[in-house]
């Protein structure tokens, strides 16, 4: 068989990735457009970024979104890592099928259903909707993403090291913290970042589970988009894309540091 990449495959790769990236690139590009018209290029300008910083509502929402994302991602990471240990280390136990169903279902469950059901739960228990109900909701789907990412790593991982540690007298907890956790740390960090990003981006579930005091950034973006496309939205979007990119790159660098460390 020919070793080289056939021209047809190259063409598909170029077209495919163009389809994936051109829309995002256009949003970023037009955030630097001096003209208010979205289709006309009026020269380079940082005007829309400056006007964003003056918009107190947007700044407040961004702050709320960041706080919720940070707290819920931290909680998701702990819960999701526990769930991943159960999935990959505990063998068969009664209720295992139900357990994995509970982990996988939230990943595909339509968001309107999850949002509505969480809201009805909070209302039934008379909880005031706001910052904390939102954080609870985000932790619930975040932990499932963390569980999948960490589970994938634990499943393809050499157990003989853990067994050796336990043979040498380490308790399961000690062998987990001293052997397993450093080895799976890159996936735990990746899981944290994923949970953080998904929380930061969520609009539908947030709309159901938050209250008047805690309007998130995606909710602000949505209501602005409904009023019409403006270059300010492009500027917020670009900042969000930039924040996530920066975070992911930093996270990956930290993860790589872990991998290099001798165990």
């Amino acid at each position: 068989m020919n070793r080289g990449l056939r021209p047809a495959h190259v063409a598909v790769l170029i077209l495919g990735f163009a389809f994936l990236y051109i829309p995002i690139a256009l949003v970023v590009l037009y955030s630097f457009n001096a003209s208010r018209l979205v289709t006309v290029w009026g020269g380079f300008s940082l005007h829309w970024y400056a006007s964003l910083l003056d918009n107190q509502q947007v700044v407040d929402s961004a702050w709320i979104s960041l706080q919720v994302a940070l707290i819920s991602a931290a909680a998701s990471t702990v819960l999701g890592t526990l769930a991943a240990i159960v999935l990959s280390r505990f063998g068969r136990f009664r209720g295992r099928l139900a357990f994995s169903a509970l982990i996988y279902a939230p990943l595909v469950m339509p968001e309107v259903i999850m949002g509505l059901s969480l809201l009805l739960l909070f209302v039934s228990f008379d909880l005031d909707r706001g910052f904390w109900t939102l954080t609870l909701a985000h932790t619930t789907f975040g932990m499932c993403f963390v569980a999948i990412v960490v589970h994938a790593r634990l499943a393809g991982f050499d157990r003989s090291l853990e067994e050796a540690a336990m043979d040498l007298g380490a308790s399961p907890a000690a062998s987990f913290f001293q052997i397993t956790l450093p080895l799976i740390a890159p996936s735990v960090i990746a899981g944290f970042l994923l949970a953080f990003t998904i929380s930061l981006d969520d609009f539908v579930i947030a709309s159901f589970t938050t209250g008047p005091g805690a309007t998130t950034l995606p909710m602000r973006i949505y209501s602005q988009v409904r009023l019409g496309v403006t270059p300010e939205i492009n500027a917020i979007s670009t900042l969000m894309i930039g924040t996530v990119a920066l975070l992911v790159v930093t996270g990956l660098l930290i993860a790589r540091g872990f991998r290099r460390q001798p165990v």
Binding site: M1, H9, L13, G16, F17, F19, L20, P23, I24, L26, V27, Y30, V38, T39, L82, A83, I85, V86, L87, S88, G91, R92, S100, A101, L102, I103, Y104, V108, P110, E111, V112, I113, M114, L116, S117, L120, L121, V123, S124, T139, T140, M143, C144, I148, L154, A155, P172, A173, T197, D201, V204, S207, P218, I221, Y222, V229, S237, M240, I241, V244
Partner: protein
């Protein structure tokens, strides 16, 4: 060794706690809320806070419970049949999600295949490129298409100035825009499972087919494609199930006549404040999705289970 027994008991408790903590969380915040949706769907809308008639309140004792049982009402479910809006929304959702799945596979399969056929050293970068859009906000990715697809948008602007068309294309606010939006935003979910299913295949299978006289195209149709079907199935379900309940895409890219059930539920809840009907809409949607959900669960647990 009797000295082991307290330690063993400690292990058992530790094991129990590690299972119980995530299980309790998901039961409390994912499974149990469905009971409340069922409960509210059997209530009736009311002008109060929260906007529905109270349903069985256990604190009031057995007697009140039995009494309330008699007041349960299926009127929300009946009203789903009364107004064709709901039936049309369900059909519209299933149709658009189905079409989007087919269109998505047509776009994602060649891309995944080309990624799997690329030199080994390129693949990590290609995979990262395929996943990265998933890390950008869903809302922003849908929003990006408004600017592109509008009548006075970038696509029409480009095509008009290139002379390809003489009249602007009306794509925005049609079902086409919704299809493009769904396919685009769920693309990473389709590419990865298909790529994995192709990448996992033993290359000697295709070589054997070629040696036996099959052309490249025949080898693809008879070897590569059938062997990748589990990945195709996984990707299709990852798109289809959430797409049925999609709200953001039809709301931002669709027209006022684009009926999808997620959008109908949203309007019922936020605009009409009819919580019981919104709950009934959700329950019926869940029932419609039971078969694809069961298929998805089976697929995922099988492929992700460690070899026990």
């Amino acid at each position: 060794m009797s000295g082991d027994s307290p330690r063993k008991r400690c292990f058992r408790w530790g094991r129990f706690a590690i299972i119980a903590i995530p299980l309790a969380w998901l039961t409390m915040f994912f499974a149990a809320p469905f009971l409340f949706v069922i409960k509210i769907s059997l209530s009736q809308a009311a002008q109060q806070r929260p906007p529905y008639e109270p349903v069985f309140d256990l604190s009031a004792g057995w007697h009140a419970f039995i009494e309330k049982l008699g007041e349960l009402s299926f009127s929300s479910y009946w009203s789903l049949l009364d107004d064709t809006l709901y039936l049309d929304s369900y059909i519209g959702s299933l149709r658009l999600a189905g079409l989007a799945t087919i269109l998505g596979l047509v776009v994602a399969y060649p891309l995944a295949l080309s990624m799997a056929r690329a030199p080994r050293s390129w693949r990590p970068a290609l995979i990262a490129l395929a996943i990265a859009p998933f890390w950008t906000s869903f809302l922003i990715r849908v929003y990006a298409w408004i600017t592109i697809l509008k009548d006075e948008g970038l696509l029409n602007h480009a095509l008009l100035s290139l002379g390809v068309i003489s009249e602007p294309l009306h794509i925005f606010a049609t079902d086409w825009a919704v299809l493009i939006g769904i396919v685009y935003s769920y693309m990473p979910f389709l590419i990865l499972p298909i790529y994995n299913a192709i990448d996992r295949q033993d290359p000697s299978l295709v070589e054997a087919a070629r040696d036996l006289g099959a052309t490249g195209v025949q080898a693809f149709w008879q070897v590569t494609l059938p062997l990748s079907l589990p990945g195709v199935m996984a990707g299709a379900l990852l798109l289809f199930i959430p797409a049925v309940g999609e709200f953001v895409v039809p709301d931002l890219l669709g027209g006022s006549d684009t009926l999808m059930i997620g959008r109908t539920l949203w309007n019922e809840f936020f605009a009409n404040r009819d919580w019981p009907v919104a709950s009934a809409v959700a329950i019926v949607m869940l029932v419609l999705l039971l078969i694809p959900l069961a298929l998805y669960e089976r697929n995922e647990t099988r492929s992700m289970e460690p070899r026990l």
